[in-house]
């Protein structure tokens, strides 16, 4: 088969300690290869002077599932205001904060992203979420399935069932929903909200089940470790957005009892209560805790100013924020009697004290967490900002003077409450490559993604070097997906359909007996219809396959 050479690029492959070395890369059959000494090169791309990285991976982006569709339906103005006309190859789509599946895929690929992970799939909605992602072109995708506020787990915990039974349930759910990880959202809180609790601290009991978020975090984190699922428990911690929630975030780290955890959109969980307005940055304490606990990783959920929409399973937090909706409309709803969701459109303003400080807190966390392998670049799309603002965010991280210019524009009281101006750190290209490529692939257990060594999938992004990092990361010169050029200079040149990624840990099939009774009695769907079969996954959308990754840590 044809051998392709990328000649003379400056390669950043942090998974193998390659930091800007000039070297040639070879591709055959969609994979990175080492050619034989006398082998003829069939096609060559001269990328000398260019920056070459693996395709970027967004490990937390809301691109599918019920709440995204609710956001789309609720915001026709978002679609009218941002139209993507049909191109020669691409179909028409639209949307800025809650784009359609097509716009999502095209725009990710145009920015050099080749894989995206939907972080909040309700088990009961998994089929629909996968179908939607099957209709998202260009990128590989996968999801984290939500446990922790589902009645079955809460019953198990209330009934003091042993860890082995819970492990079987976790593994069964991953199987049935075809996901790559487990997410817990406001542990127990989504259910507690329905029992009229409006706050749930880490050690506060669910009024009906008597279970605390601490127990939920512990059994799930331990369960995933027992099952050797590569991705640690993905935690949206308690008290999102509440001033002073730094304490519950630190308590959540403590609750994991040393088992690996990933704290998502940690910016929304790093608030103190100092100052006249009782709202302050606790980024320092959070960063210190992440630095000190090697088993903890986080993604930031940076906010950027402008119109967006917040979509979350956390009905409790969204109910609290609904009064801030802009435009003034929101949805807080139950999902299939087993979960909840809240969608609140939001406009972040740089002249609003709270928003301005949130912006600074996110950047403080990026800059104060020392290890780029444990802090990931996200805006929690679309909750902090649409993913299309990533190049701007990268520039904020890599360019101190640009960052300080932007800092000078925000609400003056927020400037006074942040230490951002005193932080000199600038991210290097290597560190950006770690946090957007190597580290996400590692934490998701995808051995053949996020790096460029022989055997890896040939997902490659080639950037034109530019001192303006925003410009550089907006429109890479070439984006390769599985060895083919799919985008060139920020335009789609070939439409492909990425594959799904999942894990399938072993479990005792006996779990289905209890589950079947539960489904028959309480849920809206029969157990057999709930489970997604492998061949079903292959029929969703246009997807190019299902990669099931081995369970080992």
């Amino acid at each position: 088969m044809a051998l392709i050479r990328l000649k003379g690029g400056r390669v950043y492959d942090p998974a193998h300690g390659v930091d800007g070395e000039v070297r040639d890369l070879y591709i055959r059959d969609g994979r990175m290869v080492v050619p034989a000494a006398d082998e003829r090169v069939d096609q060559e791309y001269d990328v000398s002077g260019r920056v070459v990285m693996a395709g970027a991976i967004d490990m937390h982006t809301h691109i599918g599932g019920g709440k995204v569709n609710i956001a789309r339906a609720m915001l026709p103005e978002d679609h009218r205001g941002d139209r993507l006309p049909r191109g020669e190859l691409t179909r028409s789509s639209c949307g800025h904060a809650a784009p359609g599946t097509l716009a999502t895929g095209y725009r990710y690929a145009e920015m050099g992203y080749t894989a995206c992970f939907e972080p909040a799939i309700l088990p009961v909605n998994a089929r629909q979420a996968h179908m939607e992602m099957g209709d998202t072109p260009m990128v590989d995708k996968g999801g984290y399935v939500m446990l922790g506020s589902d009645e079955f787990l809460l019953r198990m915990l209330a009934g003091k069932q042993d860890q082995a039974a819970i492990n079987d349930y976790i593994a069964w759910t991953l199987h049935a929903a075809r996901c790559i990880g487990i997410k817990v959202v406001n542990p127990g809180g989504i259910s507690a909200f329905k029992f009229n609790q409006r706050n749930l601290n880490v050690d506060e009991a669910h009024v009906h089940y008597g279970v605390t978020p601490r127990e939920i975090v512990r059994v799930l984190a331990r369960g995933l470790d027992d099952l050797q699922v590569p991705h640690p428990l993905h935690i949206h911690a308690s008290n999102l957005g509440v001033p002073g929630n730094v304490d519950s975030t630190l308590a959540t780290i403590d609750a994991a009892e040393g088992f690996p955890i990933h704290l998502t959109h940690i910016q929304f969980h790093s608030y103190g209560t100092e100052g006249d307005r009782k709202f302050s940055s606790a980024a320092g304490r959070i960063a210190e805790a992440v630095n000190a606990n090697r088993h903890v990783s986080c993604d930031v959920g940076q906010i950027l100013f402008g119109q967006t929409v917040t979509a979350s399973g956390d009905n409790m937090a969204q109910h609290r924020n609904a009064g801030h909706a802009s435009p003034r409309k929101f949805v807080i709803m139950d999902i299939e009697c087993d979960a909840g969701c809240g969608v609140v459109p939001f406009r972040y303003r740089d002249q609003n004290f709270v928003n301005a400080l949130q912006w600074a807190i996110g950047l403080e966390i990026f800059l104060l967490v020392g290890d780029p392998w444990r802090v990931f670049l996200t805006t929690d799309h679309p909750n902090g900002a649409p993913f299309t603002s990533y190049p701007h965010l990268i520039r904020l991280l890599m360019d101190k003077s640009f960052r300080n210019e932007q800092l000078a524009r925000i609400h003056p009281d927020a400037q006074a409450m942040t230490t951002l101006a005193s932080i000199d750190r600038e991210y290097s290209l290597n560190e950006i490559a770690i946090m957007t490529r190597a580290a996400p692939a590692k934490i998701l257990g995808m051995a053949d993604r996020g790096h460029l060594a022989p055997g890896a999938a040939a997902d490659i992004t080639v950037y034109r070097e530019d001192a303006d990092r925003e410009k550089m990361f907006t429109a890479p010169e070439y984006v390769f997906k599985d060895g083919e050029v799919v985008a060139r200079d920020g335009r789609i040149v070939k439409v492909v359909w990425g594959r799904f990624h999942a894990v399938a840990p072993e479990f005792d099939r006996g779990i289905e007996k209890g589950l079947r009774d539960y489904f028959e009695r309480y849920l809206t769907m029969r157990l057999e219809n709930f489970k997604i079969a492998e061949d079903e996954m292959l029929a969703f959308g246009h997807n190019a396959g299902l990669a099931t990754h081995p369970c080992r840590r």
Binding site: M74, L75, P76, E77, R80, P85, R86, S92, P327, R328, K329
Partner: protein, 270 residues
């Protein structure tokens, strides 16, 4: 300088958006560039020069000759100047208009003056549904300006309207002034079912007795002096609204919709 005139070469087979052909955009372009502009044409594009024969040069006065109900978005977001349409116009005429004047000889489609903030629109023919109404998902319909329809208006005229004046010389369709938030609508002809349903505030001035929902209270007959001022502001308009008789200051006042705040008023000439 003569008005910049666009003469339709042939009846368009597909809907076409003329949103780009507004004074503030055309004033920035050279005469040679105008025929090369691309308009949305169905799901594709068409050049202005292919659709229209162009003459004249004054971009602050635009004339569209040979109208069609497929010519959408005429005067969308226009800020100043004048647009004259000789013939019919399509949907979204004067959508999000901020100032200036639009005059249409013929009839217009749906969503005329939706989201308009200021400006003046006269239509000699009929208006389609959702005149001065909110687009789906939006909270506000027309938020300022004056629209005069010499013919009839379709359904949902003034739905979620926020401010401004809508004058209908003919009849209004069903659900006129539904969910209206503020502003003034006057209808000289008949009105249909569901009128003023969910009306929160605003004024509806009618000649014919409407079939109001039961959630309106009859507050009796009054002589309202402010109507004199209102009529005076309409004195320069063409047609029936310029010549309302002096005795029409006496009105029956009905207030509602009590199911939705109930501060709207419906005034019926007696």
């Amino acid at each position: 300088m003569s008005a910049l005139t666009f003469r339709l070469r042939h009846e368009p087979q597909l809907r076409v958006s003329l949103a780009l052909l507004v004074p503030q955009t055309l004033a920035r372009l050279s005469p040679a560039a105008i025929p090369e502009m691309e308009l949305t044409w169905g799901s594709g594009a068409i050049k202005v020069g292919e659709l229209f024969e162009i003459r004249g040069s004054d971009a602050s006065h635009l004339v569209f000759e040979g109208g069609s109900p497929k010519l959408d978005r005429i005067g969308e977001a226009m800020a100043s100047g004048e647009i004259i349409v000789r013939g019919d116009a399509g949907a979204y005429l004067g959508h999000r208009m901020a100032g200036g004047t639009i005059r249409v000889d013929g009839s217009v489609g749906a969503y005329c003056a939706s989201g308009a903030r200021n400006g003046f629109i006269t239509v000699d023919g009929d208006a389609g549904d959702f005149l001065a109404a909110a687009l789906p998902g939006e909270h506000r319909g027309m938020a300022g300006g004056l629209v005069l329809i010499r013919g009839d208006a379709g359904e949902r005229a003034g739905d979620r309207m926020r401010r401004g004046v809508v004058l209908i010389e003919g009849s209004a369709g069903d659900y006129c002034a539904s969910r209206m938030g503020a502003g003034t609508i006057a209808v000289l002809g008949r009105t249909g079912a569901g009128i003023a349903t969910g009306m929160r505030r605003g004024t509806l001035l009618l000649r014919e007795t409407p079939e109001l929902p039961p959630t309106f209270n009859d507050c009796g007959v009054h002589d309202l002096g402010f109507l004199q001022l209102l009529y005076r502001s309409w004195a320069s308009l063409p047609g029936g609204f310029a010549a309302l008789p002096g005795n029409s200051l006496t009105v029956r006042r009905l207030v509602g919709d009590l199911g939705n705040g109930g501060k709207g008023e419906v005034l019926v000439w007696v």
